[in-house]
């Protein structure tokens, strides 16, 4: 019910936060697509791509899934999925 009583400015802030996250996710995806066109993925580019992956996953988890304000254990275990996959892919590439 707290959500219903949020002031108009707080609602706008929440909507703007979602919009900002959407823009960041699109920009990082476009940068990833640009990197995909490189003839060779160097270690620096690989780390960059995997860094984008972790940032994007964390934004989806915290903002879209709304796990940011939830007990840390849930958020951490969800974040571990993206981090572990990135580390393994990085080590195996």
């Amino acid at each position: 019910m707290d959500q219903v009583n949020l002031s108009e400015s707080k609602r706008k802030t929440k909507l703007n936060q979602l919009l900002l996250v959407w823009v960041i996710l699109i920009v990082l995806s476009l940068l990833g697509a640009i990197i995909a066109d490189f003839s060779q993925i160097t270690p620096i580019l690989l780390i960059t791509v995997l860094g984008f992956l972790v940032i994007k996953a964390q934004l989806v988890i915290d903002i879209f899934m709304n796990l940011g304000p939830v007990k840390w254990g849930w958020r951490l275990s969800m974040s571990a999925f993206a981090v572990m996959i990135s580390l393994l892919v990085g080590l195996l590439s």
Binding site: W22, A33, I41, V89
Partner: protein, 190 residues
Amino acid sequence: MNSATIRQPLPGDLAIWFFIYAELAVFGILFIIYAITRQNHPEIFAEAYLHLNRTAGLINTIALISASFFVARSSLFLQWGNSRLTQRNLIYGVLCALVYLAVKLVEYDEAFSAGYDLTTNIFYTLYFSLTIFHFAHVVLGVVILLVMLRNARNGYYQNHSHSGYESGASYWHMVDLVWVVLFPIVYVIH
């Protein structure tokens, strides 16, 4: 304690979160198998990568991120008691998901027309297994979003808990999260 430090309850039912973790575990295993196989067969993956439709991959990324964005907005509007904007954002989310499904079908059609299928080589076995598995999740997600839309139109959430809606939205965000991981691993790293 200020509002920033107050811990909120998990959105949706607890059961959906166990389901989401189980799904992520399955996808995680598939991603690891993909990475290990790529390390063992670099030449097959390098050759197959040249035939991947990376533009379709990017369009699908934008479509799924946008769908998740609209579903997240619809959840907020539901909490704020605005049924009209809840439904509108949910419709936008469904439309973005349908864009994903259409582009993916075109991508599969191109691949099958070019003679590539599950049996072509180890890359295509993993590529089709991974993406078709994800495709099936998107189809289920669209069905769930449509049920949420129907309930919102019927005013169901005005008289009942929002837990079912939040569970459906959480499932959809999981589908998006998996693609956020899948896109760089399959379409970018080569």
